[in-house]
Subunit: 354 residues, 2 copies
C-alpha cells in the first residue's frame, strides 16, 4: 500500500511493549540494552516492516549523513568516474552521496544546488559546475562546499583540481617535440578548467616563440563543441598541423570532422585531447591525451568535506593533482614540408609527469 502510513517508532514500541526511547536506542545499536528486549524490539520492527524515518532523525540531529553532489554533465565520462570515487569514499565513511545534475545549464545547476541545501545535506560537492561565484559562496554559508575540477579562490571553499596549465604545457611540449609549430587550440568555452587550459597553452607557445603560430578557436566540452571548433579552424587559410582540443569528448567530435573532410590523423593533422576518458583508448579513436586521476579526485573531495565536518577545520585546502601525458596514435610528426623543429627543451617520454 503505497502512501499508506509508515509504521513509526511508536508502533514498534507498542508492539514490543516497551517505550519509544528504548526502540530508538536499539535502532541505533546502543550497547546498554538487555539482549531480551533488543530481540523483542527487532522482532516487532521487522514484523511491522519498520523503516527508520531519516527525515525526522535529520531534523532533530541536524545531521543527515548525506553528501550532496551537483554534476555538470553526466554525458562526460570524466564525471562518471569522479562519481565512483565520491560514492566509494562516502560509503567508506558511513555517509551516502546523492546526485543531481545541472544539464550543463547554470539555471538548472543552481536549482540543483538549492534543492540539496534545502534538504540540509551535510556537505556539497560541485563537480564541474559553471555556477556563478556568488552562488557558490552563498552555499558555503550553509554547508561545507568542495569544488571538483574547478579551483576555489575562497577561504571557506575547498577544491580539488588537476593542474590544467601544466596539462596544457605537456601537450605543447609533446607537439613541439614532434616538430609541430603551427598549433591550434579548440577551447572549452566556459567549462571548468577551460580557461586555464587555454592560457596554459598560450603561455607555453609563447615560451617557444610560437606566439604567432598559436591560434585559439572557441569550442565546448562536448562532441559538437569540438566539431564546431575544428570546422572554424578549417575555414582559415593557414591550417594548423596539430590541434589541442579542450577535452576528449570534444576531441572525438574533432576527429569526426577531420576524417569527414578526408584529412589523415596524424598524417596531416595531429590531435590531442584531455581527460583520458575510456573512449580515448578505443582502437580507432586512439587519442593522445592528458590523464587525471578522476576517482581519486572524487574521493579527495569527500575527504575534504568530512574533514571540515568532523574536525571543524576552517582554513580552506586546495588539492592540485599533477596530470600526465598519455601518448597514443593520434599524434605524430607534421607533414613533411613543415621542417621538423629541433627544439626540445624538455624530455617527453611515453608518460611524462608535469
Amino acid at each position: 500500500m503505497p502512501s499508506g502510513r509508515h509504521p513509526t517508532i511508536h508502533d514498534v514500541a507498542a508492539r514490543a511493549g516497551v517505550s519509544k526511547s528504548l526502540v530508538s536506542l536499539v535502532m541505533r545499536g546502543a550497547p546498554q540494552v538487555s539482549e531480551e528486549r533488543r530481540r523483542a524490539v527487532l522482532l516487532a520492527a521487522s514484523e511491522l516492516g519498520y523503516r527508520p524515518n531519516a527525515v525526522a532523525r535529520s531534523l532533530v540531529r541536524n545531521r543527515s549523513n548525506v553528501l550532496g553532489v551537483v554534476l555538470s554533465d553526466l554525458h562526460n565520462p570524466f564525471f562518471v568516474e569522479v562519481v565512483d570515487g565520491i560514492e566509494e569514499e562516502a560509503i567508506a565513511s558511513h555517509h551516502r552521496a546523492l546526485f543531481n545534475t545541472g544539464s550543463r545549464s547554470p539555471g538548472r545547476e543552481s536549482e540543483a544546488l538549492e534543492t540539496l541545501l534545502q534538504l540540509r545535506v551535510d556537505g556539497v560537492i560541485l563537480a564541474g559546475t559553471v555556477l556563478p561565484p556568488r552562488a557558490i559562496v552563498a552555499a558555503a554559508a550553509n554547508a561545507p562546499v568542495a569544488l571538483v575540477a574547478r579551483a576555489s579562490r575562497w577561504p571557506a571553499i575547498d577544491s580539488v583540481t588537476n593542474d590544467d596549465r601544466a596539462g596544457a604545457r605537456l601537450v605543447v611540449d609533446h607537439l613541439v617535440s614532434l616538430g609541430h609549430r603551427r598549433i591550434a587550440h579548440v577551447d572549452g568555452g566556459r567549462g571548468a578548467g577551460a580557461a586555464d587550459r587555454r592560457s596554459g597553452f598560450l603561455t607555453r607557445m609563447r615560451r617557444y616563440g610560437l606566439t604567432s603560430d598559436a591560434v585559439v578557436v572557441p569550442g565546448a566540452f562536448t562532441e559538437d563543441g569540438g566539431a564546431a571548433g575544428v570546422d572554424k579552424l578549417l575555414e582559415q587559410s593557414k591550417r594548423p598541423t596539430a590541434v589541442f582540443v579542450a577535452n576528449d569528448l570534444a576531441a572525438v567530435g574533432a576527429l569526426r570532422v577531420l576524417r569527414d573532410r578526408g584529412l589523415e590523423v596524424p598524417g596531416e593533422v595531429s590531435v590531442v585531447g584531455y581527460d583520458n576518458v575510456s573512449i580515448a583508448g578505443l582502437d580507432h579513436v586512439d587519442l593522445t591525451t592528458i590523464e587525471q586521476p578522476r576517482r581519486e579526485m572524487g574521493a579527495e573531495a569527500v575527504r575534504l568535506l568530512l574533514d571540515r565536518l568532523d574536525g571543524g577545520r576552517g582554513q580552506s585546502r586546495h588539492v592540485v593533482i599533477p596530470p600526465t601525458l598519455v601518448v597514443r596514435g593520434s599524434t605524430g610528426p607534421p607533414p613533411a614540408r613543415s621542417a621538423p623543429s629541433d627544439m626540445r627543451p624538455f624530455d617527453t617520454e611515453r608518460r611524462t609527469r608535469s
Copy 2:
C-alpha cells in the same frame, strides 16, 4: 560559517515583526497576504539568508517532492540518457530527482534503495538494477516504484521497458537476411533484459530452423564482458559468421578483441549490439544496433510515479516500447564460402519497427 545554525522561519518572523505562520504563508506564495507584509517578510528572509528547511517541511507534510532514482551503472551511457529524461520530466512536474548508484553490485543497490526509502522520497525509480524481487516488493510497500529496463510482474509496481525479445528478433532477422546461419550471442549475464534478449535470440533462431547454429556464451553489460565472451567464442572450432552482443558497451569490447585477432568486421565476422548508445555511431565503431528511446523511457517512469501519487491509481501499468534496428557498417554478408541464404521471411529495411 558552515555548520553555523541556519536562520529559521522564526528568525524571519521576528525580524519582520510578524508571526511564524505568516512567514510560512509568504514562503509558499499564498495569495491572501497584504502586499506590504509580504514585502517585509521577503526582505527579512533575504537579509538573513533564509533558506526553507525542506526536512522539516517534508516531515510535517509527509511529502518531499523528491523522486529517488537507483541507477545500476552510470558507465553505461544508456542510463545517462534515461537520467536526462527523468530529470526533465521531474522538473516539469515540480519535483526533483535525486540519484544514487549501485556500482553494479546488488548489495550496494539495496543500500542505495534503503537510503532513498528512509529519506522518504515520494517515489522510486529503479533503472537497470539487479535487485532481488523481494527487495523491490518490500520497497513498494513504502513508496510507489517504477522499473526502467526491467519488466515488473507485480501489481504494485510499474515498469517501462523496451521489448527485448522483439529487439533480438530484429537482430536475427537482419543477420539471416544477410545470409548468416551460424550466429552467436554473447549474453548480458544477469543484467536487466539480458534474459529476454537471450531467449528472443534462441526462439527466433529456432524459427529459422537454425537451432544447432545458435550458440550462446556468457558475457556482461560491460566492455570486458563482451571481450571475454568473444574470447570464449574464438576458442570453439566452428567459428560463427556473426555475433549478437548483449549491448553496445559489450559490443565495443567484442570489436576490440576481434580486431586484435586480425578478424575483419564485417568481412569475416558481423557484429550487432543493443542500445544505440552514442559511441555506436562513432566513425570507426560504426555498430549496427538496436535503438530504444531512452529519454522517453525515463520520462515515462516519472509519469507513472506521479500518476500513482496524484491519481491514486492502484493497478500497475507496464509500458513496453518497440525497439528499432539501426543498420551501420558492422554487419554485412558472411564470407563467400558460406552460401548466402535465400530465407527472407520478413522485410528488413534500414530501420525496421518490430
